[in-house]
């Protein structure tokens, strides 16, 4: 890996985190996804901005991160998952996504452009929800989270292939989906 001294410099990392966050917030805002109307538009399938932003980020990010990894510049950090954690948590997340109309990143961006429902309703609710999870964590961890653990960390591991055999077809698929959305007028 490159820049190991930089990674170990805790104080400088806080500055880098802040600067990357400022750029992240700017991109989220200009794309429109920090708006409740845009997020609900996506979930009601009338506005595909969220999917366009996410798929483009994944396409660009994936090529760059895997290219750097091939050269030994970066390490991957895929998260483990399970039916009990990923699927059940995901269902609860989706309900929150529709009811709140923001996610943890976009709620921060929404606060930045003056959405007071995001600040007083959304952020406080997320803090309470995260606190409930922390309180229930020992029980959930024992009884639910470890049910049906996924065997592989990444898709190329699961398929036992070189990652580029997944990346290249996936890039073509993403490009086709985006072209299809534009062609059909979304």
């Amino acid at each position: 890996m490159m820049f190991e001294d930089l990674h170990a410099n805790t104080r400088l990392q806080l500055v880098i985190g802040l600067l990357l966050g400022i750029c992240f917030g700017a991109f989220l805002y200009i794309s429109g996804v920090t708006e409740y109307n845009v997020i609900l538009g996506q979930l009601l399938l009338t506005d595909f901005t969220v999917i366009k932003v996410m798929l483009t980020a994944v396409l660009v990010g994936m090529i760059g991160v895997y290219a750097m990894r091939s050269r030994g510049l970066v390490e991957l950090h895929p998260k483990p998952g399970s039916i009990g954690s990923t699927v059940i948590g995901g269902i609860i997340f989706g309900m929150g996504f529709a009811v709140l109309g923001y996610c943890p990143g976009t709620v921060a961006g929404a606060v930045g452009h003056g959405a007071l429902d995001a600040l007083f309703g959304g952020v406080t609710g997320i803090l309470v929800g995260a606190g409930i999870f922390a309180a229930a964590y020992p029980t959930l961890d024992e009884k639910i989270l470890s049910r049906g653990v996924f065997k592989s960390m990444t898709v190329p591991d699961a398929l036992k292939v070189n990652p580029w055999y997944v990346i290249i077809p996936l890039c073509i698929l993403i490009a086709a989906i985006l072209a299809g959305l534009e062609y059909s007028g979304f």
């Binding site: 990674h7 992240f24 989220l28 996410m54 396409l59 660009v60 895929p78 609860i92 309900m95 996610c103």
Partner: protein, 166 residues
């Protein structure tokens, strides 16, 4: 055709390169909320809070990701002021046009949704950023499953909420 979502999306993709290269971390937002929640709890319950199993896993400190989320607020604020989009708003128009412009109602609904969001994102181990963008771009199995479930559950919930099907 509007290129803005693609330019912004590509920008976020490049930011993920920078996060991996400069910080050895994927972009993510929801653990910052978990840490903040614990820090607030600590104000009331004191040091006992640090002993909780979940906060031993995610210590109650201001870390890289916490600064990232603080940066998102600042970045959206600066950009919205520059382009003239900053404005205080209690009720988003889609919500108001459907359910009425009642600030109390919107805050109650947002709070309830926030609880589900905070609970669900920690339960699933990530959010739309950590799983939806950073995890999927690493081709993580858990993240592709998570993002599909996020959107399926979100679409069903939004259709029920807005009464699209009846």
């Amino acid at each position: 055709m509007d290129w803005t979502p693609y330019i912004a999306g590509a920008g976020i993709g490049v930011l993920s390169w920078a996060a991996f290269l400069l910080s050895n971390k994927p972009l993510g937002c929801s653990t910052a909320f978990a840490r903040t929640s614990g820090m607030i709890e600590r104000l009331f319950r004191g040091r006992k809070t640090d002993e909780k199993a979940y906060y031993r896993k995610f210590p109650l400190v201001v870390d890289w990701e916490w600064m990232l989320v603080a940066g998102v607020v600042i970045g959206a604020f600066i950009t919205s002021v520059i382009v003239g989009g900053f404005s205080f708003e209690w009720v988003p128009t889609l919500f108001g046009d459907t359910f009425g412009y009642d600030t109390g109602l919107r805050l109650a609904v947002a709070f309830a949704g926030g609880i589900l969001m905070g609970l669900g994102s920690r339960w699933a181990g990530g959010c739309t950023s950590g799983h939806g963008i950073s995890g999927t771009l690493q081709l993580a199995v858990s993240s592709w499953i998570a993002v599909v479930v996020f959107f399926l559950s979100g679409i069903v919930s939004a259709f029920l909420l807005y009464g699209v099907l009846w």
